[in-house]
């Protein structure tokens, strides 16, 4: 009790002290530090700062933990005009503020069709029925007693970059490319659950169904289901976040995010696809001739330079780090090339960090910038030899009414002041 009181007194003093010093600190804060110049002293170094003199927060101030208050702009954002209802909407991962390959759980983009279902895991049930020997019901406890796996996978909405088919529209890779995240999932291979129920030989498709108010449902070919599909209850070491399907979701590696049914409550086995709303009216690709591709499940190889980008302009001449993400639903990323001159000349970027199957990779190019205009692009090549196409090459095949699966090469124009803009080039 005595300790608490003294800490509060100190905090009050810290507040008063900070107010008095604020003016002086600001006046000295802009110090040129170019090589060769004589550096002037910074008060930040010569004066004892509050955070070194006074006690900081005790251990239980944030029992779960929150990011630094100085990172308050690192958040998901939505595009208000994009959807009519927040319960059936999407927001975007701030790719330009992140690094490495793992997306923090609280920043993974959200897409719901009927809001976030709030389900007590003790009340959650998963049913398997249809063309099986024995229809079964599992509790979360049942599922957590099954053999478990850990895998790092990207989840990309098929509509990621969908607003860019007709041309540059949004300034920021958060909005042009932010319908993706990459986390480590913990769960059970779907095959384990299907083996418990016993699939009949004529079971060729599964229907996955959510427990949310949209009753989200999608059809999934049995070959994929038996290959690498997981039923996950954890991501990044913690339980799934509610907005990511707590307590249980489907993980369909490399395939469009809409198939990754959240709040998963039922799996039905059948001999043909169901043609649900999400696989006929949505998530089909309308081509210029009026015909539409369906069952375009795989996400093609794609990449984006996250820094610099419109929300993360270049701030310094001299040494800089270009950074970005690349991924492929067909396998691993084999190589990423970067161009600074709009695709005339390319250099191979350095990939750093783990390279997993159907996971993003992080790439870097360390470069010097003298203030010249740059047209920055990146292109991914995957383990099947597929190379990310230019936007124009993609439009030649798909037209501009496609909405989904836009994996064309992005161009960022960096102006002489470092300001960066989403542009189309020709």
């Amino acid at each position: 009790m005595t300790d608490r009181t003294s800490a509060e007194t100190l905090n009050r003093r810290r507040f008063l002290g900070a107010a008095g010093l604020a003016g002086a600190g600001a006046a000295l804060s802009a110090i040129p530090t170019l090589a060769g110049e004589t550096a002037k002293s910074e008060a930040l170094i010569t004066d004892v700062q509050d955070w070194q003199r006074y006690l900081g927060d005790g251990v239980d101030k944030h029992p779960y933990g929150v990011p630094s208050k100085f990172e308050k702009n690192v958040i998901r954002r939505d595009v208000p005009w994009l959807t009519v209802s927040a319960e059936s909407s999407v927001n975007f991962t701030p790719l330009h503020d992140l690094d490495g390959i793992i997306t923090p759980s609280g920043l993974c983009f959200e897409r719901h069709h009927g809001g976030v279902a709030e389900i007590n895991p003790a009340d959650h049930r998963l049913m398997i029925n249809g063309l099986v020997d024995k229809p079964l019901v599992f509790t979360m406890d049942d599922i957590k007693r099954m053999p478990r796996v850990n895998k790092v996978y990207f989840l990309e909405c098929a509509a990621n970059s969908g607003m860019e088919w007709r041309g540059s529209q949004l300034n920021g890779c958060q909005f042009t490319h932010g319908m993706i995240h990459n986390v480590m999932y913990t769960g059970v291979p779907l095959k384990v659950l299907l083996d418990e129920a016993g699939l009949k030989p004529n079971a060729k498709w599964l229907m996955l169904e959510g427990a949310d108010s949209a009753g989200m449902n999608r059809s999934l070919p049995i070959e994929k289901a038996l290959n690498d599909v997981m039923i996950a209850f954890a991501m990044n070491g913690e339980a799934l976040r509610p907005e990511q399907g707590y307590p249980l979701r489907a993980v369909i590696p490399g395939w469009e995010g809409n198939l990754w049914v959240k709040w998963l409550r039922r799996i039905e086995a059948g001999d043909q696809p169901w043609q649900t709303r999400e696989e006929t009216s949505k998530y089909t690709d309308l081509l210029a001739d009026g015909n539409s591709r369906k069952h375009t499940f795989v996400m093609d190889a794609k990449s984006v330079v996250t820094n610099p980008s419109p929300q993360a302009p270049l701030k310094h001449k001299g040494r800089n780090v270009l950074s970005g993400l690349a991924w492929s639903g067909r396998g691993t990323v084999k190589r990423v090339d970067v161009s600074m001159d709009g695709g005339r000349n390319w250099q191979t970027a350095r990939i750093d960090g783990p390279v997993f199957d159907k996971s993003v990779v992080r790439f870097y190019v360390d470069f010097d910038w003298n203030g010249q205009e740059l047209m920055i692009q990146s292109r991914a090549i995957d383990s099947t030899g597929y190379m990310q196409p230019s936007k124009d090459d993609l439009r030649k095949v798909r037209g501009v009414n496609s909405i989904y699966h836009n994996n064309g090469i992005q161009t960022w124009l960096v102006r002489s002041g470092g300001e960066t803009e989403n542009v189309e080039i020709g």
Partner: protein, 233 residues
Amino acid sequence: MSKSANALTLVLAACLLGSIIAPSAAQQMAGREVAKPAGKLGLGRAATAEEIAAWDTDVRPDGRGLPVGKGTVKQGDDLFQEKCASCHGEFGQGVGRWPVLAGGAGTLKADRPDKTVGSFWPDLSTVFDYIKRAMPYGNAQSLTNDEVYALTAYILSMNDIVKDETFELNEKNFTSIKMPNAAAFFEDDRETSEKHFWNKNPCMKDCRPAPKVTGRAMSIDVTPDGKSGPKVE
């Protein structure tokens, strides 16, 4: 510790050398070893017939899953005005930016296609399945089977697929209804129609003429202000 550090180094080295099999196989193999159960686990319990009936409401294009029931265009019209028109409009024309359900015929090749139930959806079963599971928005699964038949019939009528307001849709005549755009869908053919995107030896130098900016996001300027996100507590 040193073991995992070495593994990471190998993964990175394999990547830089262009051999992508090693890291991919490593992640998959780890899964296979752990995932192999020894016979049945004996987990879960049998689902009862009543439980399956409560949840198994899905309907397929061949009519599998259709419940016994019926509803006319006229009945559907009344229901639609009461429960659906506030979002979808009296004639399915949409209110504000809520989904348009009718019209759009002949627009699929146009610059701005209207993809409605009538102009785009290939299967009527999708309408029934979706209304039954998710509509009305915010009050899902509140409609009876007869009401879903009636609403489906009214949507057909709004799209001129049935013309008579006394038309009754039921589980027996349901699969006889063919949707106008049914023939326009084909299976994913990217591996053949986009074969030219597989290119292991792309150009690296002097690959194209000097590019010019032809479009700018700034000229459209619809990007939300980056600083105006939700407040963080």
